[in-house]
């Protein structure tokens, strides 16, 4: 009896060992992982150089890891198990109240040197461009505004401290503080539940706040809201692959007095005339509906010929905010410093920039 049980067991185990091997090496490779936002490893090529340096072995291991059978299902199972045993913090994400996922950032994650360097660069930049108005809008993340939703006693980095440091250290720059206005609306849907970005509503309230610093009154009645998808599962969902969570809704605010505009991307490499890229709704990262994603450079030319040219130095938070600004400027330029390799001062001169807005979220300053 024992012998038979053992034989069956051995057969099952060998099958478990061999199955994935056959799957990995004898079926077609997966190329791109939508949930991870990266390309998966390809079959490693054996050459004398990479054998001696050990690189072949590393490539082989990445290949096995990336092409493993049921990879995402097993990952989802791991998350489920962790949730079942009461874990409220998985892979750098807090499972907060009301089905919100909030990014877990700790004080030990703050790179103080980077923070000070960024502030210094900003001040340097302001000095060189002091003939233009410069405004800074650091968007607080949900881990500050929605703090009450975090699991009880959960640790989170002191974002107020970071924002206060930035606010008090910048010279000749108008600091637009969004903490009050966003806190006032914290019971509304101003951050996504499954993504680290703010919702269009959140960026609208911030636009109203921006308006106060720029002598512009914003009437919420001049927009009609349209739900473009109810099926958005964002970056924080990707860290968990928990399919039992509620998806997010993405809303766009259509201006009743819509202005005409044309967009050119990446120094004129392509064009479009819609800030909303509806094709992206068919992909996984639906937040890319705003401007189609992040480009090194983007220019929007409107038919408001008021000779005001705005430059926005940005991260991805700006994408949802930009549509609101279009009617106030003749040209709106967007530059993403992670990918922009040209000389910024020359760019500013060449395009006759009259105003500069730096718009990013707190984490861009400290990581």
């Amino acid at each position: 009896m024992k012998r038979q049980v053992n034989i069956i067991f051995i057969i099952v185990f060998i099958f478990i060992l061999i199955g994935p091997f056959v799957y990995i090496f004898f079926t077609n490779d997966k190329e791109y992982a939508e949930n991870e936002n990266r390309y998966l490893s390809e079959k490693p090529r054996l050459t004398k150089d990479n054998l001696l340096s050990g690189q072949y072995f590393k490539n082989f291991e990445s290949y096995v890891d990336d092409q493993f059978i049921f990879r995402e299902n097993l990952y989802e199972l791991k998350t489920k198990i962790q949730k079942t045993i009461g874990n409220k913090d998985i892979n750098g994400v807090y499972l907060a109240k009301d089905n919100y996922l909030i990014e877990k950032t700790l004080d030990s994650d703050i790179d103080n040197k980077k923070l000070l360097n960024n502030i210094e660069s900003l001040n340097e930049f302001a000095k060189n461009n002091n003939r233009r108005s410069i405004q800074l809008m650091v968007v607080p993340t949900s881990s500050l505004i929605l703090k009450e939703k975090l699991p009880k006693y959960a640790e989170i980095f002191d974002q107020d401290n970071v924002l206060n440091t930035i606010k008090s250290s910048v010279n000749d720059i108008t600091y637009i503080d969004l903490r009050n206005v966003l806190s006032q609306h914290k019971k509304e849907y101003i951050y996504y539940k499954t993504d680290h970005h703010w919702t269009t509503l959140g960026s609208f309230y911030s636009y109203q706040e921006w308006g106060k610093y720029n002598n512009i009154a914003v009437d919420s009645n001049s927009y009609f809201k349209k739900v473009v998808t109810s099926d958005f599962k964002g970056t924080l969902y990707s860290k968990l692959l928990d399919n039992s969570i509620e998806s997010d809704e993405i809303v766009i605010f259509n201006d009743k007095n819509q202005i005409d505009y044309e967009i050119t991307y990446n120094f004129n490499k392509s064009k479009s005339n819609n800030v909303y890229n509806f094709e992206k709704l068919r992909e996984k990262d639906k937040y890319q509906i705003f401007l189609g994603g992040n480009y090194p450079e983007l220019k929007i030319t409107t038919n408001n010929k008021n000779q005001k040219n705005l430059l926005i130095i940005k991260d991805s938070y700006a994408n949802a905010f930009v549509p609101f600004l279009l009617k106030h400027y003749e040209n709106v330029h967007l530059v993403d410093m992670r990918y922009f390799k040209q000389n910024l001062d020359e760019y500013i001169n060449d395009y006759n920039i009259t105003e500069i807005l730096i718009l990013c979220n707190t984490l861009s300053f400290i990581k």
């Binding site: 991870e36 990952y75 009880k152 006693y153 990707s238």
Partner: protein, 466 residues
Amino acid sequence: MVFSSLNFLFCFLPIILIIYYLSPKSVRNLILFIGSLIFYAWGEPIYIFVMLFSTIFDYTNGLLIEKFYLEKNQKKAKIILLNSVFVNLGILCFFKYSDFFISNINNILNINIPLLNIALPIGISFYTFQTLSYTIDTYLRKVNVQKNIIDFGCYVTFFPQLVAGPIIKYKDINNQLKERKESIDGFSYGINRLCIGLFKKVVLANNIGMLWTEISNHPISQLPILTAWLGALCFTFQIYYDFSGYSDMAIGLSKMFGFSFPENFDHPYESKSITEFWRRWHISLGSWFKEYVYIPLGGSKKGKIKLFRNLLIVWILTGFWHGASWNFIVWGLYFGIILIIEKFVLFKYLKKLPSIIQHLYTIILVVISWVIFSFEDMNQGYLYLKSMFGFNHTGFINDYLIYLLKNHSVLIIICTVLSVCFIKIKDIQKKKWYPIVINTGSILLFLLSLCFLIGSTYNPFLYFRF
């Protein structure tokens, strides 16, 4: 290569098992030898030559010692032995300890010799001790000379124990090189041990280790007492499940090829004294030092003073073996002194105390020892101990501790319960339901471990990587 990787479990292991069992018995040691070399070269394409050198060197020494004995020339045989010891320890010291010695000399003499920064060849602390056990025992006539270089190479490089032990003395398996029996029951036992070990390492050790990392990332001098203790406890569990998990996998894997390895851990956290602890923790290391250092120095048979000296030497060396840093020496000495005190003073009192006090006494001393062990920077280690005993005036508990306990209570409880498991395996092994339960359980543990292994390869980026 690492056991707890998809690469090892799903590529290397099935391939070597299939080739092994399809081959005739006469070729099987060669297959293990070549397979083990591939296993080693996978991670270290260059340092494999150091290991090959050790193998060929001591194989030759064995032949020479045998030759000189046959010529009745004990003196020359002794020279070969001393040469072997000197060269093996020399290689170990060079790769592992040279920078330690250089930086200490720099500090004492106030000069600035540049460090060598040599990478440590994997497994060198293990295989040099193994080849030494061969030459010493050949000299002492405790084993016959091994004339087959393949068999000897198979012993030295055998992949299950190559990287993290147990330290297998040559005489413990020399018969198994030629006469071992692979069997169905043995193979399934091997799979059981492998699955249990994998679970301990990937599910328990790695996760409780993350908790330790998170706690110790906070400013140490600000940790309240219980939080500091929780951190130390996490490390205590991490090192146990990591090390014993690896040993379980080694024992299981070797059994799948018909080898029976001696046990390396025997529920050490159940001990009632430090003396007992060291009979249950890293048994193969204690045994090696006892046989090849303690007893040759005279052991306990040459009077009290020499006994003290021998114990202190053995424990300093045991500590130093673990790493090239002063905290490890302090750690070894810490145990050496406690063992001496237990042997001469404490033991007769300890025995009379209630069991629970004996257990608490032991586990508290063990947890403290792990704090010394985990901080190479002894200033940090000292600060941490201060936090544990309230000398940093940071209070007893904080909100963070409550959060950790709520979030990770299941993991902590499982780690505690499994480490003091009072079920004797031998009792339940004979039950009718045992095969089904252990085998099904193994499969489940394996799948659970697989989930967590995948977890560490899953890597989402917030922004697209160009």
